[in-house]
């Protein structure tokens, strides 16, 4: 019994390994260092967003504003990064601060109004898209400094910077969830909000924190993306929130709150990345790829609910 439970817990990891093996047999190009560097660089944006939204979903909420938030952060960073007018730290801080601020706005409205996070962040999603267009006057912000473009395009010891950022954020997020008081509180609030409150946890503060973390990471994702495409695009990130939520859910984060892990989300992100990369290598049309991806999301959730029911 214990063994079967373990197997279920690592089910998604096994699925990931299986998919990798299948692809390795199907195409020799799959298991090359070059290809994996491409995969991980490609998924790094989604990973940052997915780590952020994992915090929110574990706490029992949801954040749909990620994609537009990313655009606001990206555009505002880009405006500060034009041709070396400021040191590179300025656009970075501006982008992060934009994300943090919008996250705080989400948290504040959700905790004060008691309106469902789904609705609030749906509103913020539209507001942010508007903000990104207003800030950029609807045009891409280009002519960014080389030092800023290094974030998305540069390498350190041969490793692309986005991959380094991904690894650092992964480690920090995992530690935050597992080894801090706040992390424990996030699980408690998502697991049983009333019980958490009765146990003396300041539930609203915890909720504020998760939306701010999520906003901060989306801001970071905005900076990385802007730097990688060397332009601040007001239309960037549309629909990214759904990929991020999908990765978290595939990785075992339950949308009803209280469960989920950062490593699980990472596997979810990689699974999505590997499948789309593999289908590319196999020359499958991107139309079909969407059908496959959607099916995987539903499959993962069905598996999860089946798990939940068996445990209950």
């Amino acid at each position: 019994m214990q063994y079967i439970n373990k197997l279920r817990e690592y089910g998604i990891f096994l699925a990931f390994v299986l998919v990798c093996l299948l692809l390795a047999f199907a195409t020799p190009r799959f298991f090359t260092l070059g290809n994996w560097t491409i995969i991980i660089t490609q998924v790094s944006i989604n990973a940052l967003l997915a780590f952020g939204v994992t915090f929110v979903i574990i706490s029992g909420g949801i954040d749909l504003s990620l994609g537009s938030l990313l655009a606001v952060a990206g555009v505002s960073a880009a405006m500060m990064a034009k041709a070396d007018q400021f040191p590179v730290i300025v656009p970075i801080l501006v982008g992060l601060f934009a994300g943090l601020l919008i996250g705080a706005f989400n948290g504040l409205v959700i905790t004060k109004s008691k309106i469902a996070p789904f609705i609030v962040t749906l509103g913020t999603m539209t507001i942010c898209r508007g903000l990104a267009l207003i800030l950029s006057k609807g045009r891409p912000v280009s002519g960014l400094s080389d030092s800023f473009n290094f974030i998305g395009g540069g390498t350190f010891l041969g490793i692309p910077i986005p991959i380094i950022i991904l690894i650092v954020v992964f480690a920090l997020s995992h530690i935050l969830l597992n080894n801090t008081v706040l992390g424990r509180y996030i699980y408690a609030v998502g697991g049983n909000e009333n019980a958490a409150r009765a146990a003396g946890i300041q539930v609203n503060k915890v909720k504020m924190a998760v939306y701010m973390i999520c906003g901060l990471l989306a801001g970071l994702a905005g900076i990385v993306l802007t730097s990688r495409i060397t332009t601040g695009q007001p239309n960037a990130g549309a629909g990214f929130e759904l990929d991020a939520i999908a990765a978290a859910v595939i990785g075992g984060t339950s949308t009803s709150g209280g469960t989920g892990t950062i490593p699980g989300t990472l596997v979810g992100v990689l699974l999505i990345g590997v499948i789309s990369n593999g289908l590319d290598l196999l020359n499958v049309s991107s139309y079909y790829q969407q059908v496959v991806m959607g099916s995987i999301i539903i499959g993962a959730v069905v598996l999860d609910s089946w798990n939940q029911r068996n445990k209950a």
Partner: protein, 491 residues
Amino acid sequence: MLLQIKNLSKSFFGVKALDEVSFDLKAGEVHTLMGENGAGKSTLMKILIGILQPDAGEIFLDGKEVEIKDVHQMLNLGIAMIHQEIMDIPELTVAENIFLGREKSGKFFLKKQEAERDAQQILNDLGIDLPLKKKAKDLSISQKQMVEIAKAVSMNARIIIMDEPTSSLSETGSEALFSIIKDLKAKSVSIIYISHKMDEILQISDRVTVLRDGKHIATDTASDLDKQTLINRMVGRDLDSVFPEIHGEKGRVVLKITNLSTSGKFENINFSLAEGEILGFAGLMGAGRSELARAIYGLDKFDSGEITFSGEKMKKHSIQSAIKNGIGYLSEDRKKEGIIPQESIYANASLTALSKFSGFGFLQKKEELKKVKEITDELRLKSAGLNQKIMYLSGGNQQKVLLSRVLLTNPTILILDEPTRGIDIGAKMEIYQLIKKLAENGIAIILISSELPELIGLAHRILVMSQGKQQAILNKSEFSSEEIMKHAIHQ
């Protein structure tokens, strides 16, 4: 005889909730069912409406044996229940609610006029005056109840079960209900009436049956009964020797409540609590005991009055300030406000005291596990290890984890709301021993319990509440079930 119940038994996890209980009902009779909380009334009713299946025993309707498998079948047999909490659809009209689920219609379209005509007919028959087109959300509680009764009659119910129907009615509302009950009787509809209120029971019942500890105690004609007899029958049991004797001295006063009030919940509560003292809160369900406890802990806000901890008046009251002042609170609702189901035993236990096991926001897991292990060992928690998820534990063991959560904060004042509800007798006795030990170590304890023997056996003083009001504070020499009941049903 319309309904005959013979030797019905039902056990939950080895505890007998009903022990060979018999009950019968004549046509056109009001038969009242009485008993303390946990006496078996609701179990009996749940069997009658098909929610529970009995382990043994028979039910006869019109002399024929029946098996009531679900609520649908109950309705077909002509049984209807008016629940304490009325479940209507707020946006539908009176007429629509009466025919809910049995809408008058042609092939596609509703026949609204026909429904309203028939509804009016039913209301006229019952002598009820209700605006048919009003939406349920705009009705008073009394009117909602009448809709439910009309609904029951419209289904040709021959037996109507009323579960504490007057608990949320005003006096005029109650009088209106009693007059409808009379009309129902005249139409030879029978009523099983569940209530705690002695006066109305004696006024409207034909017969009264008392249950206690899942057993049938007595059935008598109402005119042969008086309040005292009924109280004696409800509580008349020996105090078991399960309660430990509590020694130790009372210390200084650590909690003082002055004129505490919250509109609609409790009013003008005054008491003080000393170190090492156990103060019981007695009262019937809905008397306001839990609400009072929640206000003291800061879980709910209160309207007026003062809370003083160790001589210091609370200015801004919150759960966090209560915890800082040494209050520990155990909720009556373990599922809703206690456990974090998917979390481990240790994460559940350390939750409130978590800051003690951390530095700069980082957890010191070794220290956490060590302390949790100490306290859970002391409470003799049975588990497959501290990593086990709490939802897999039995009720008694879950309660021990939650007690650990409170005790890890080293409280000076403990509020225990129904600490032994729904747990087996062995775990109960362990919790009694723990309460004794804590009191002897100088912890002040507020003990809320619906089981009188528990309060009588453990408390130094008992505060009795009825309908939000503090009726009496009894000293140990004044303790008796009869005395407590007298104050608890005082109106």
